[in-house]
């Protein structure tokens, strides 16, 4: 089993290296000159040239890539051209804010999705199954900003005003100091993610419920509750873990829209600002962070998949 995990880990490192090349190449294509962006339109050509050489912009792209990559390994994400300071300083708070949002969304959506999926599969073809299907398909069809705006309309403005519509915390204070401002963004993300998990869980549960070992468990006289929890669910979890992973990884990118909507000071906001101000270093850093989240979450899903399957577990 360790062998499998290590193999996945090594693969992840290569994936991240490939992503770094792509990210770097893509940002090369962004229009604009970072040195000029920092100094403004009035700067003299000499000052632009001086800053360019200070930022290594006069070096060939390959050299700049390795300088940047080396920096990443040492935690140096470069210098923000719009903010002026190191990127890591700019992003530190924002990463933790975004992580809080993602983890909360995961905590809410995973049990919700799994629960509804199982419930739906158990009542296959019945009214309860159909209503879960309708609700989840409708939610899945709605873009996250529509869900967010609808929630804001209901809970923060016209219907009942019990929750803040936007993030209230002043810049510099952690977002969790005012917990109520986390509720709407969390629910929005959870409502976007949970339907996919529920759909997938329903599909795999139905397969598992039709299997010989579930019928055998019933014919052994095992109580229904134990049939579901002990014989069926562990098998359904494996494939669903992959879907959950993709959904969680999507959250890392999906937070961009939701953070913008709720003025939430996370990496999504940072990315939007950075793109607006041509802040190449920040764009690169945020892209790499999102890639790392994708890889780590998928790695976790693979490990869950291995754990749920004794055949793979005992293979190594």
């Amino acid at each position: 089993m360790m062998k499998l995990v290590v193999r996945r880990l090594v693969l992840s490192v290569f994936i991240l290296l490939a992503v770094s090349i792509l990210v770097f190449a893509a940002t090369l294509l962004l229009p604009g000159d970072p040195a000029r962006a920092i100094l403004g339109q009035q700067a003299t050509p000499e000052r632009v040239a001086a800053l360019s050489s200070q930022l290594n912009l006069d070096q060939p792209a390959v050299v700049r890539y390795f300088l940047w990559l080396g920096g990443l390994f040492m935690g140096d994400f470069g210098t923000s051209t719009s903010f002026g300071g190191p990127v890591s300083e700019l992003l530190g708070d924002r990463i933790s804010a975004s992580l809080v949002l993602m983890v909360l969304a995961a905590i809410v959506s995973i049990p919700l999705g799994l629960g509804f999926g199982i419930w739906s599969a158990l009542h296959r073809g019945g009214k309860r199954d159909k209503s879960v299907t309708w609700v989840s398909l409708t939610l899945a069809a709605l873009p996250e900003f529509v869900i967010g705006i609808a929630l804001v309309t209901i809970f923060a403005t016209s219907v009942v005003q019990i929750l803040p519509a936007v993030t209230m915390a002043p810049p510099g204070t952690p977002v969790w100091t005012i917990p109520s401002q986390l509720i709407l963004p969390t629910i929005t993300l959870a409502l976007v993610v949970a339907p996919y998990i529920a759909r997938m869980m329903r599909a795999t549960m139905i397969d598992v419920l039709d299997s010989g070992y579930v019928e055998m468990a019933r014919l052994k006289g095992v109580p229904e509750r134990q049939v579901i929890l002990r014989h069926a669910v562990p098998h359904a979890i494996g494939p669903v873990a992959q879907v959950i992973a993709i959904q969680l990884a999507w959250l890392a990118g999906g937070v961009v829209v939701v953070e913008f909507l709720f003025r939430y000071p996370g990496i999504g906001q940072a990315l939007i600002d950075a793109v607006t101000f041509r802040d190449v270093q920040v764009v690169q850093a945020v892209s790499m962070i999102v890639a790392v989240v994708y890889v780590v979450v998928n790695l976790l899903a693979d490990i869950v998949g291995i754990m749920a399957n004794p055949k793979l577990r005992s293979a190594a």
């Binding site: 055998m216 006289g221 014989h231 399957n309 055949k311």
Partner: protein, 588 residues
Amino acid sequence: MTTAPAPAETELSTVLRIDDLRVSAVGGAEILHGISLELYRGRILGLVGESGSGKTTAGLACLGHYRDGLVHTGGDIEIFPRDADPFTLSSLTPDGRRLLRGHRIAYIPQAPALSLNPAIRVGEQIREVLDVHGFGESPQERAARVAEALEDVGLPSSAEYQRRWPHQLSGGQQQRIGIAMAFAMFPDVLVLDEPTTGLDVSTQAHVLDTIRDMTRKHDVASLYITHDLAVVAELADRVAVMLRGDVVEEGPAAEVLARPQHEYTSRLLAAVPDLPGRKDLSLATGSISQVQEALAEVSADKTGETGAAADASVVASAATESSTGLGASDSTAGAAGQDGFLLDVKDLGMRYGSNTVLNGIDMTLQPGESLMLLGESGSGKTTLSRCIAGLIDGYTGSVRLRGEELAPSTRKRSLAHRQEVQYVFQSPFSSLNPRRTIGESLTVPLEMSRRLPRSEHRATVEDALDAVRLGRSFYDRRPGDLSGGERQRAAIARALVNAPSVLVCDEITSALDVSVQASIVGLLGTLRVERGLSILFVTHNITLARHVSDHIAVLNKGVIVDRGTVDEVLENPTHAYTKALLEDIPQL
């Protein structure tokens, strides 16, 4: 029509009585038309019938279990336990029925690999039955019972063995875990649903021994459901024959099998291949389908075997058919290489990693010859047939067709080579695309080969459908509407459209009922004569040998251990493995 239970012999004590049981599909046709059976203590009742006869439905009804879409509509089942008052299943609450299952009535399923939970350790799965039904006084007592149950079926009872996962056991061991599980609570009644299907003959022999011993030792009344009459002959004390939801005959095994009263029973017996090869299977199939047709008219039910029924009429015109479109092959199919062999396999070897699957295989096939490649699961027989067909590459050694070397993979073979060697897969249920009509599926190979102009495709496909006795009316039908036998015929027709000279048949009858198997075997014989086809018949079923082949090669652990004409090998087996194989075959 149900026969009354045979007059009870005095020493028989009834444990379970099925009385006029009726089961229907939800809002649809009746599946069981009022069957009555009795199970006696310490005796095994063999319940035989072909797929769709309702035998599994009847077996599961004994546990008060009806699969999704089925509903109990009449009759009842009465149980007479050793140590309690008799009661009927319908008088129980759902929870009462649940407590019955695995306790008084145990079930042993068909496919052990699918019925053991792959994520629970085997000891734990036996233990679960004891926990659920509250066996004994203490956890220690239950643990002791688990060990005892394992030893009873001849498995190790060590903690290490109990901690294994199902996939770490062989098929026979898995099935014995199933048996241990069933006997754990000392049940009164045992329902066995084809427990040896899919096992090798030697493994089957061991499992049957275990079942027989356990039934006697624990004085259990057993219902043994199977389609395999030879197994019934070995194991059962009494036999009941089912046909489309009715019990048509019931009585002591020796009597029913020796002097069948009902016509269907005699047809069924006639379709079972015998090792001496004295039976003419093709006769059996014709009449079986006639019986079925007659019954179909009575019950106005959809019959699955119309294709087989058409045999008699089509055979007459068969001779003329082969001179059309496909007939072009006749001139080439007969020709052989300079050495006289059509197919010549030399020193073929295949390994997956460090695991040698095939080693030094030499094999030849003459024009028009039928060679049986006999082997048990894991012997490498499918790998070998796939190497020959070019479905697996990376083998060593050579495969020659008429003296010309075949490339190791179909991708590298020439169009002509690919057409010459055609492959028919084991399961007709998965080898035909369910979304395409039969005609569309059969046209694909013609499109690939570009052998004929597009305008002739339809006629060629229709000829092939005629050749397999399906008839051209099947052109626009989809696999979902066809029975297993009809699907397998369609699959054979697909292999025929490109007029091959070698047909590789990989276990093509093992997913089919005996009567359908007999009709397919008959069809292959006809095709050989009509088209001069050479056939490589890959199977685990040695009793078919005399019905399909002239020559036989016995494959064991990737090596051919015995070979020769069928008579030589069956009468004077040289290798110990072949001898053991011949000893383990259940015979009627």
